[in-house]
């Protein structure tokens, strides 16, 4: 038990040493991808809590990320900036005068998103079935329309510009470690077991005295909080947000990540986020003209997506339940592999 804690802390330190090295030696482009990986991972890990662990099919992350991004951005922009930016209609007076530092802005963004999660979840989880998917899909669309039309709050299709570039590897990876820690702690407790029970058989879970409504709400709201925070981090990474950034495509991407990693496996989500975010950058070569021997292929934008789909199909063929299935990484497993390897070596 103790050994595992030490090893975990050691590997987190190792991660941050790597990040220190990266932030001083890697190119700006690589740093942005590293940040992107962390933010996508926060979104995916918290998304897996409701979809994979609790087994409730939600399509909310794009809406939640949008709420978080707008909240955090509106809070961290200075009143003068906001005054200058809202050219169609002036900003709502209360919002115009608020100004918060980065961390409080992120936390408030998370809380506001969690509140939206509460409002969505409260009626939906009183019923059973696929209503959650329909309601959350609708939520994403409503948020998109609101963002486009509530001009005094969101500045409409112009979006918010000039958001300070606060997000660096320390912020994004700090939040990532915190997210994974919180989600794993919940999973490895009575709460997590109850959530898994609901996923496997809701009737049996009820017969065990589990308050399924409460458990689903917890999973959904905790997920919403971290998705809001991730939205805030994203806003402060790319410094410009507009409604087009949070379309259903974002949710779709996350869905691909958690299904490919294994629904219900946080380890799988971590691996597949790296594979998919980094991979889709690596595959950019295919979009450019290529020289193979004497041929020069024309650059076809979107070719990488075809290769990507092929990879996904192969995962589906050879790893039906995703890369990790429902298994999690553990130090015991690692040691048994190392020992097994040595035995085979002899």
């Amino acid at each position: 038990m103790n050994r595992n804690v030490i090893l975990t802390i050691f590997s987190i330190i190792l991660l941050f040493v790597f990040l220190y090295y990266a932030s001083h030696h890697f190119s700006k482009y690589t740093i942005i991808i590293l940040n992107n990986i962390a933010i996508t991972m926060i979104l995916a890990v918290s998304y897996n809590l409701i979809n994979g662990i609790t087994g409730q099919f939600s399509l909310a992350p794009n809406g939640f990320a949008a709420v978080g991004a707008y909240t955090a951005a509106l809070l961290s922009l200075t009143p003068a900036q906001k005054q200058a930016m809202f050219i169609i209609d002036p900003i709502m007076p209360i919002l115009g005068s608020i100004h918060l530092p980065f961390l409080p802005a992120l936390i408030v963004a998370g809380l506001v998103t969690a509140f939206f999660g509460f409002i969505l979840g409260f009626p939906v989880f009183r019923t059973r079935g696929d209503y959650l998917a329909i309601v959350t899909l609708g939520f994403g669309i409503v948020i998109d329309i609101v963002a486009n039309n509530a001009i005094t709050i969101t500045n409409g299709p112009l979006g918010l510009k000039g958001i300070s570039n606060y997000t660096n590897v320390w912020w994004s990876y700090g939040w990532l470690v915190f997210t994974i820690f919180v989600v794993m702690s919940i999973i490895n407790s009575s709460y997590g077991r109850a959530m898994k029970a609901i996923r496997d058989d809701e009737d049996a879970a009820i017969a065990m005295g589990i308050n399924t409504f409460k458990m689903k709400m917890i999973a959904f709201i905790v997920g919403a909080f971290f998705q809001g925070v991730a939205g805030g981090l994203l806003a402060h990474l790319i410094t410009t947000i507009s409604p087009t950034l949070f379309t259903f495509f974002l949710t779709f991407n996350l869905l691909v990540i958690i299904v490919m990693g294994g629904l219900g496996s946080i380890t799988g989500t971590v691996i597949s986020t790296i594979v998919i975010v980094w991979g889709s950058e690596l595959l950019r070569v295919f979009d450019q003209p290529m020289h193979i021997f004497n041929f020069t292929t024309p650059g076809i934008p979107g070719l990488r997506m075809i290769i990507f789909s092929l990879l996904l199909i192969f995962t589906m063929l050879f790893a039906r339940e995703g890369i990790m299935g429902k298994k999690e990484f553990s130090w015991e497993w690692l040691f048994s592999v190392i020992k097994g390897g040595k035995k085979n070596g002899k």
Binding site: F181, V182, S185, I186, N188, S189, S190, Y191, R193, A194, K196, A197, R199, D200, D201, D203, A204, A205, I206, A207, M208, G209, I210, N211, T212, I218, G264, K326
Partner: protein
């Protein structure tokens, strides 16, 4: 009346025009094994769902230990001391046997959501206790060495045992078994019969079960209720039920009664 742990008073259940249960009254005496039998479609499972609060009866009351529990939320009957199993075994498939049993202890866990995150002493202590208790329970049913197998990796009879053990983990006073012997061969049935009697004594339980298999019911129950087409047609000891002409005609048809 004092001795009844569960009593149903004039319970009727209608689905639209269909009368699934018609004015049924029954009592389950404390620390007895009581059976509910009847041909297919007699309304046994509906009765069970009414008792476990999965269905709210159109008329009538369900009383558990003197308390009217009609219309309770189904998960709320567990803390007051009722636990059930299902006709088709419903274990949590992706979890290990141990985790399945640990879920049975879920309603005894007192720590709040933030405690696992902060790793408070109360959380660590209760988690350890739950694990130990689950191992103890598995030891009692002789499945300790299979604790870390997936629930679906066990044989049918073992799965049934795990399901009953999971219900026992909630420390019930009344155990409701929905066709426990379904799909078992004669030897497994006999083993199950002893198993139920054994846990009834060692856990100080009252057992109320639905069963199809006459031999099984006759061998284990002290009192039997017979349903047919939603109505109670007989009640009594196994001997009385066996001789009751109404029961015979319900099971075998009118012609057999006269001969």
């Amino acid at each position: 009346m004092e001795n009844n742990i569960l009593s149903c008073e004039h319970v009727s259940m209608k689905f639209g025009g269909l009368v699934a249960l018609n004015d049924i009254s029954l009592n389950v005496v404390k620390s007895s094994i009581t059976g509910l039998i009847g041909p297919n479609g007699a309304g046994k499972t509906t009765m069970f769902n009414v008792v476990t609060c999965n269905l709210k009866p159109t008329m009538g009351k369900v009383i558990f230990e003197g308390k009217d529990i009609t219309g309770y939320k189904p998960y709320k009957i567990v803390p007051i001391g009722m636990a059930r199993t299902f006709q088709n075994i419903r274990l949590f498939e992706n979890l290990t046997v141990l985790e399945n049993i640990m879920i049975g202890f879920a309603n005894k866990v007192k720590y709040k959501l933030f405690e696992p995150i902060l790793k408070t002493p109360r959380f660590l202590k209760q988690e350890k206790e739950t694990k130990n208790k689950a191992y103890e329970l598995l030891e009692k049913i002789n499945l300790k060495e299979k604790a870390h197998l997936k629930a679906t990796g066990l044989s049918y009879g073992e799965q049934r045992k795990v399901e009953i053990a999971r219900a026992l983990a909630t420390s019930p006073k009344l155990l409701l078994l929905d066709e426990p012997a379904a799909g078992m061969n004669p030897n497994e049935k006999i083993a199950l019969m002893y198993f139920i009697k054994e846990i009834k004594d060692s856990f100080n339980l009252t057992v109320f079960l639905i069963e199809h298999d006459m031999k099984f019911v006759m061998g284990i129950c002290q009192k039997i209720y017979v349903l047919d087409y939603g109505a109670k047609i007989a009640e009594g000891t196994p001997e009385e039920i066996q001789k009751n002409p109404k029961v015979i005609s319900a099971y075998l048809g009118e012609a057999n009664v006269k001969s």
